[in-house]
């Protein structure tokens, strides 16, 4: 009995994969090649005059202190979002795993934030922390903290990290919970019988068995923080104050659409494309091998 699926008709398989291939070509290959082409040009916004400048755009951005700063900001931002989202989610998952009464209600409420679009979540957090009218700002001012994220870069970074991570906690929670529930109860019981405390049981048994999930979620969180958080930055800080929250994907938008520097923006998106390809390669090579479905 052959395991592979074999088609009798020679042409049918091509028709079946055609829709997917067309979508990939139109929505990925075509824009990506346009971006590579545009990154080698210096042109005016209307496309009326363009000059071929080869690698000049790339040299310009890598010698631009604002772009180097943007790379640093993106690194800080994504690792912080990943760390916070994953640690809180793990905590909640462990707690939810042990709960017996009201477990379903608890889990439902934790998952709700994921249903809210990132931009909406960002605007909600912006209102809460707004220096003039926000409820949480009143609280912070009353305990003596001078909260003004429109001027203070560090505070702005904290705010966008919270707004971005809040949503990801739900996503990670789901995976961690599933991962925890996949651990055979017999291991835990055996350790309990041998006298291990709950903490020891978690760190020596559960956590190592969760490591494929951790690795997978780490990559997913980094990708999210790199790309899906555009809406968060745009609604709250627009890359400010003074470039403190100007992540790379936001800079691509700002340079391309607000400053109308299409060549430079295309060069930056080519760099980001390389980053995504690297992350995907890492994910496929190291993670897919360890996770068993």
């Amino acid at each position: 009995m052959e395991k592979r699926v074999v088609f009798k008709n020679k042409i049918l398989p091509y028709f079946l994969v055609a829709p997917q291939i067309i979508i990939t070509l139109v929505f990925f290959i075509w824009p990506a090649s346009m971006a590579i082409y545009q990154s080698a040009l210096q042109e005016d916004p209307f496309g009326l005059s363009s000059t071929f400048v080869a690698f000049e755009n790339f040299i310009y951005i890598f010698t631009d202190p604002i772009y180097i700063n943007s790379i640093k900001v993106t690194m800080t931002f994504s690792f912080s979002v990943a760390a916070i989202a994953m640690s809180f989610a793990l905590l909640f998952a462990v707690m939810a795993d042990r709960a017996i009464r009201g477990a379903t209600t608890y889990k439902t409420f934790i998952i709700w934030p994921y249903a809210i679009a990132p931009v909406v979540a960002a605007v909600l957090w912006y209102f809460l922390f707004n220096p003039t009218v926000g409820m949480l700002s009143f609280f912070l001012k009353s305990i003596g903290i001078n909260w003004n994220f429109e001027l203070n870069g560090r505070q702005a970074m904290i705010l966008v990290i919270i707004a971005a991570a809040w949503r990801e906690i739900s996503y990670n929670f789901l995976f961690f919970l599933a991962g925890l529930q996949a651990i055979p109860k017999s291991f835990i019981e055996a350790a309990a019988i041998d006298g291990a405390s709950p903490r020891k049981r978690f760190w020596t048994i559960s956590f190592p068995l969760l490591s494929p999930t951790v690795f997978f979620l780490f990559v997913m969180n980094i990708v999210y923080a790199f790309f899906d958080t555009f809406g968060v930055i745009h609604s709250i800080t627009e890359g400010g104050p003074n470039e403190a929250t100007n992540i790379m994907v936001y800079k691509v938008y700002h340079d391309g659409f607000e400053s109308l520097d299409l060549g430079g923006s295309a060069a930056q998106s080519v760099i980001l494309m390389i980053v995504v390809i690297l992350l995907t390669v890492i994910q496929f090579r190291f993670i897919e091998r360890k996770v068993h479905y």
Binding site: Q42, E43, D44, P45, F46, G47, L48, S49, T51, N130, T132, V133, E150, L151, N152, G153, E238, G240, P241, N242, E243, H254, D255, F257, E258, S259, L260, D261
Partner: protein, 439 residues
Amino acid sequence: MKRCKWMLIVAIFVLVIFPASVMAEPVVVNWWFAHGGRLGEKVQSIVANFNSMQNKYKVVATYKGNYHDTMTAGIAAFRSKNPPHILQVFEVGTATMMAAKGAIKPVYEVMAASGQPWSPDAYLSTVTGYYTTPDGKMLSLPFNSSTPVLYYNVDAFKKAGLDPNKPPKTWSEVADYARKLVKAGSPAGFSTAWISWIHVENFSAWHNVPIGTKSNGFGGLDTEFVINSPLHVKHIQQLADWQKEKIFIYGGRRNKGNAKFSAGEVAMYTESSAGYAGFKKTCKFEFRTSMLPYWSGEGGAPQNTIIGGASLWVMAGHSQKEYDGVATFFNYLSSPAVQADWHQFTGYLPITTDAYYLTKGQGVYEKKPGMETALKQMTLNKPTANSRGLRFGNFVQMRAIMYDTLEAIFVGKKTAKQGLDDAVVAGNKLLRKFEKANK
């Protein structure tokens, strides 16, 4: 019998469809604009009035987002060979639009080709000067032009024992007033919107000092920024120092700080004259406007202020019939009644002298003394090379650099001199890039 029935149906069909297709459909003119909220509703009502007055042309006005989004949408539409007829572009996009010779059709050409009577002299020269070539040919139609003014909270003034009929004239007076206001309980003295537009660009024009060489860019693409002059450094450093005493607080980019004024956090606020409509709705206290403060004895203050806002550009690639529609609509927009109504509702300046006199004749300025402030301030003196406006390429990026620079200065990372020097270096790089791309 069956054949007769079919012929009857076909005959009715033809009789109904044929006249409908012979009857002229109005020529559609697409206008992409950037006003949301109350201003957007007003735009739509102007368009609806025009459409109901005649049935030859139909203007379809679409809100495309803020100024950036609208300009980007227009450019993208041009690149995909489907631009609108009229595009509202903010004043800092003027240089980019002017340089795009194949993408736009200058207004003076559109009006001339339509054969309709049109006089460029009917427009206020301080307003049109920004959008005109050096030899007086109008490239885009000014629609909403504003100039910055000082808004002040009359109730807060009275509480602090200040006379609301004597608003502060100089920056030193502003500081004095602010100290008294803070003492009487105001959380802070003053804040501002559009900080680069008001405290750098208009600051320069108001004091008759240049923003850039070559008459602020009017004279050539090889212009360079000079916003790190001693006077500029003095003003910005003063703003940074005043933050420590809560005389001044930075309100954020664009006009995010408006809530500070309407919520009563600051009692004085420099903002566009067009902020009037919004404040009228949100402020629960009495407020008035007065002229922008200046440093007495510095430069040539007070000279005149320059406009902000946007103008209407006509995009290339449409038929003559459609351009006739554009010309008719532009004449309608410039008519005294429409301009006077727009001016009184929004706080934007009237763009024709007739509209100004109409408003004056209606006694509006006696009832609302602040409305005339903006116009008086803008026409205080005949514009000099430093106060006609500005024309710098890539200026949108420069504004972003200015926000970053000022934020760094206000938070103490740089002194005003360092920050402005760095901004000049970065800005000149942008100007050289624009010059190269538009040789």
